[in-house]
């Protein structure tokens, strides 16, 4: 555990004073070990001409990464960078920047001639806070291997683009990735899918990212990937430009899923999208009277547009259903309850192997065990009945077949959360069938 310095020093080993400070981080990176700290001057421009794609790697335990902190020159006082402290952009060659092993960066600014790679492994962690990452022209922020990657309040800057580029901006193929806060800067240089390559089964959560610089909304702007999504991806509370496209409905999803919540230009709290290989649904303004509201705005789950319904693919079946997100509600007192969710469509009634409700509830006052109940036809080879007709609902736009998915007589043993979800096991439902779900658990005394 030692302290090192990067700035305008004499570039003299062991770089343990400001006078001997290294002039580029890579010069000291290889000797670094767990829990070492590197102080890098906030105004230090890295002028090293990288002769090759020199790795920036460190050896550190997962709990004790090498820590790199941008500071006021010749002090150890935190100061966000005002210069490119890691810089291959000024190189003669097209050198990328690559981080391997365990790191934590605070306030550091980097500029790459090419890709910026994050190349961890199974047990590594890399953390970036208040950093600026300028990727090379037409290049991407790329995750090469498994590992844990966290970015808090970082700017992903595409200022190095030489012109408009349709290349992906983020290639999140591996790892468990969290981006919280921060922004995409100069995103108008990108004209294609911003996030892509979720190919290997990791997770990504992008939360509170300011995407308002993505102003080229002529193509799928935030997410689209045609080769096969295998990761679990969540975008939430991201601020978008006034004109934007969130999702390419031609995206091919394999074993993963895409969820988007409250990503819009303004206050649009009902905004929602969920997609898996079995189909997709999103928020709709075709609503049921008495259905859920967010901030007084009624909504339901429908399809791609305000006038189309939920869509399923040919891969959807009773054995591989499209499963909606959970709908949570509160049970204030123990008792026996009936629980229902209301739906409608324009073609015909759904039966109990085509669309059904599942409810998870606490049936025991002394245990934390939750019981899962269902109104699916209990035998997979049985003859399913039609779901219950609903004659009492009013929808803002009404289609012919109104039904109620209901489970009766649930004995709830203690107050707490009850949650339910709808499972859709019918292939190739088209948006023109106008299948809508009012995503509210209607709980009545049983």
């Amino acid at each position: 555990m030692a302290d090192y310095y990067v700035g305008s020093g004499t570039d003299t080993s062991p770089f343990d004073t400001w006078a001997k400070a290294a002039t580029w981080l890579g010069n000291i990176a290889h000797p670094l070990t767990a829990a070492d700290t590197v102080y890098i001057a906030s105004n230090h421009e890295d002028a090293h001409d990288y002769s090759a794609n020199e790795l920036i790697s460190a050896v550190g335990g997962v709990s004790t990464p090498v820590v790199v902190i941008s500071v006021t020159d010749a002090t150890t006082n935190y100061a966000k960078a005002t210069a490119n402290q890691i810089n291959t952009y000024q190189d003669a060659g097209s050198n990328y920047i690559l981080f391997s092993e365990n790191w934590a960066f605070y306030g550091v600014q980097m500029s790459s001639k090419g890709i910026i790679y994050f190349d961890g492994n199974t047990d590594t962690s890399q953390y970036f806070e208040d950093c600026t990452l300028k990727v090379g022209s037409g290049s991407s922020i790329t995750f090469l291997d498994s590992g844990k990657y966290n970015f808090k309040d970082c700017a992903f800057d595409f200022t190095n683009d030489s012109g408009a580029s349709a290349n992906k901006a983020f290639s999140l193929g591996y790892g468990n990735i969290v981006i919280e806060g921060g922004s995409i800067a100069n995103g108008s240089n990108r004209t294609g899918n911003i996030f892509a390559d979720f190919t290997t089964g990791g997770t990504a959560r992008i939360s509170g990212l300011d995407c308002t610089s993505l102003t080229n909304a002529t193509t799928p702007e935030l997410f689209g990937y045609s080769t096969g999504v295998r990761s679990q991806i969540l975008f939430e509370n991201c601020k978008m430009a006034a004109t934007h496209v969130l999702y390419d409905y031609n995206t091919v999803i394999k074993t993963g899923s895409v969820t988007m919540v409250n990503c819009s230009a303004g206050d649009n709290p009902t905004q929602f999208l969920y997609a898996s290989k079995e189909g997709h649904l999103r928020d709709s303004t075709v609503t049921r009277t008495g259905g859920p509201e967010v901030q007084g705005i009624a909504f339901s789950w429908g399809g791609e547009t305000a006038t189309t319904g939920i869509v399923t693919t040919a891969a959807c079946s009773a054995s591989s259903p499209l499963v909606t997100p959970w709908i949570n509600t509160n049970i204030a007192t123990a008792g026996t309850y009936d629980v229902a969710v209301y739906i409608q469509n324009t073609n015909s009634d759904f039966n109990e192997l085509q669309v059904w409700l599942e409810v998870q509830y606490q049936d025991d006052a002394t245990s934390q065990f939750y019981t899962l109940a269902s109104d699916r036809e209990p035998t997979i080879t049985g003859t399913p009945s039609s779901q219950t007709d609903d004659t009492g609902s009013t929808w803002s736009t009404s289609y012919t077949y109104h039904q109620k998915l209901e489970i009766q007589g649930l004995t709830v043993g203690t107050k707490g959360i009850m949650r339910g979800r709808v499972l859709i096991g019918l292939a190739s439902i088209a948006g023109t069938r106008h299948f809508y779900i009012s995503p509210k658990l209607v709980v009545t005394d049983g």
Binding site: V261, Y274, N330
Partner: protein, 50 residues
């Protein structure tokens, strides 16, 4: 009518009784103060609720 909001893609109806709950590992605390604001603890969400 009780208000509803999304967290991590799940819909939660505001219980509005001051209880706390874990949902998918996150802690929820409901407000008992009429405005039906949900405080989300240990989260960096930029909630747009006023």
């Amino acid at each position: 009518m009780a208000d509803t909001f999304y967290l991590n893609g799940e819909l939660l109806e505001d219980p509005a009784d001051g209880d706390e709950y874990f949902i998918d590992g996150e802690v929820f605390e409901s407000s008992s103060a009429g405005g039906a604001i949900i405080a989300i603890i240990n989260s960096n969400l930029r909630m747009r609720r006023e």
